[in-house]
């Protein structure tokens, strides 16, 4: 492999690029740009880089740990200036440069910006009928991952039945999210298998509208859930959740494949909170003169042929800032965005 120093255009050495958001897309974009010879500043609003992966235990397919992904980036982050607890307040455009001002009033002059601000997890309390925050047994996909990370899942009493509700806050016009969050189907099936690994006698039920197991290895995950773990799949959206006098959750749905109403008592119900827009998008879009779509995610003028390009020449996107994406897709887009920055700047 050619070392970065042999491979560079020396002109790049003094060009600065800002990467906004320290999730997996931001970390990959920063590291690719650093390898191409740019001086990179990574701005992260949270306490540490890593984004949502910090709160996730394992990733499908293959069950690698999220922490190993983050550690891989952080152990190779030399040469990248990482500013945590920092946001962007404003940006000034001049001919070929942008000067951004951070929340700590630092001025950073850069030749390009990659926006990797990702998504927010849907707030499941909004779907009141599912009883999140009301009933102890109702948790979210993120809560379950936290229980896996901390190991606290093993302190819980063995549930006899666990349910998984797909599409919570996704494909739901009532909560202004018409889009599919793309990753929840696999997450639900992965988590159902993980529950069966911990408690083989526990019965698991996935309530889905459609199963969108679209990627390589995903259908195998579904096959394994049925074949190896005996996970039950019920096509029908959960309509309401209640609690009986014994503290069991009473779940109602239609079993649409038999066209019959269905009732089941469960000990634990896991809601697949979907990916929604980052609430900062609107303000950032105004600062950087980009546009956002009806769904609140950043919009690309040419999403098919130039998925990382924005309506501003020096502003690029990567990862789920432009809509729900998996980790692998975010990594790919980050590399693509870094290359787009390089193609722009190396010709100047």
């Amino acid at each position: 492999m050619v070392s970065p120093s042999e491979n560079l255009n020396l002109n790049n050495m003094y060009k600065n690029v800002l990467v906004l958001g320290g999730g997996v897309a931001g970390l990959q974009a920063a590291s690719s740009l650093r390898d191409l010879g740019y001086r990179v500043t990574l701005v992260e609003k949270g306490e540490k880089p890593g984004g949502h992966l910090n709160n996730w235990d394992r990733l499908y397919p293959g069950n690698i740990t999220s922490s190993s992904v983050i550690d891989g980036y952080l152990s190779n982050s030399q040469g990248i200036r990482i500013l945590t607890n920092t946001t962007i307040k404003s940006a000034l455009k001049s001919d070929k440069l942008l000067t951004v001002i951070t929340s700590s009033s630092e001025e950073i002059t850069v030749s390009a910006v990659i926006i990797t601000t990702g998504f927010s997890l849907f707030d499941a309390t909004i779907k009141e009928e599912y009883g999140y925050g009301l009933y102890n047994g109702v948790i979210t996909n993120a809560d379950l991952e936290s229980l896996f990370i901390s190991g606290k899942i093993h302190n819980r009493e063995k549930p006899s039945r666990v349910g998984f509700v797909h599409c919570v806050g996704s494909r739901d016009d009532k909560v202004c999210n018409r889009h599919c969050s793309k990753i929840c189907c696999m997450t639900a099936v992965k988590q159902a298998c993980e529950i069966k690994e911990i408690w083989p006698e526990t019965e698991a039920f996935c309530f889905y509208m459609d199963l969108r197991m679209f990627g390589r290895g995903y259908e195998d995950l579904y096959y394994e859930a049925q074949n190896k773990y005996g996970v039950n799949f019920i096509r029908g959206r959960v309509s309401e959740v209640g609690e009986d006098e014994n503290g069991k959750l009473v779940v109602k749905a239609e079993d649409t494949l038999t066209s019959r109403p269905l009732k089941i008592s469960l000990d634990m119900l896991v809601l697949m909170s979907g990916m929604v827009k980052n609430p900062d998008n609107k303000a950032l879009s105004a600062i950087f003169e980009t546009s956002i779509g009806e769904d609140g995610f950043f919009a690309q003028p040419h999403p098919i042929v130039n998925p990382t390009g924005s309506s501003s020449t020096r502003i690029f996107f990567a990862g789920s800032a432009t809509g729900p994406k998996s980790v692998a897709e975010s990594v790919n887009e980050a590399k693509s965005a870094a290359l787009s920055v390089h193609m722009l700047l190396s010709n100047e």
Binding site: F205, L211, Y222, Y223, Q226, N227, G230, N232, F233, R235, D255, L257, T258, R260, P261, L262, K263, I264, S265
Partner: protein
């Protein structure tokens, strides 16, 4: 006694708390393929009997899983075991073997 013409309707609901899917579980031990169905409907679409009788392999094993055994069995009674459904099943489920074992298990449980 005077008859007022009222009667109680039987519930159509699937109550998974009361359900008895022991026939499904029993067959799943002999032919684990039964767990693999994803309800695409190819089996029923290719079925000759289904033009004349309410025969549906996928519905039958789903109902069996939900504990509605009687209805499930009634859907398989008119099956002629021709095996066309084996040819079209995308998951390669040995449908005929399952049907035979469901009918057998039902016989034994009587």
């Amino acid at each position: 006694m005077t008859e007022f013409g009222f009667k109680l309707s039987q519930s159509n609901r699937i109550d998974l708390d009361e359900t008895d899917n022991s026939v499904f579980k029993k067959v799943a031990i002999i032919v684990p393929d039964i767990k693999l169905c994803f309800n695409c409907g190819s089996c029923s679409a290719s079925c000759t009997s289904t033009h004349f009788k309410r025969v549906s392999f996928r519905s039958a094993i789903l109902l069996l899983n939900r504990g509605h055994n009687k209805e499930a069995i009634s859907m398989l009674k008119s099956c002629m075991l021709c095996g066309k459904c084996i040819l079209v099943c995308p998951r390669g489920i040995d449908t005929r073997n399952i049907i035979i074992n469901i009918l057998k298990a039902e016989e034994e449980m009587k």
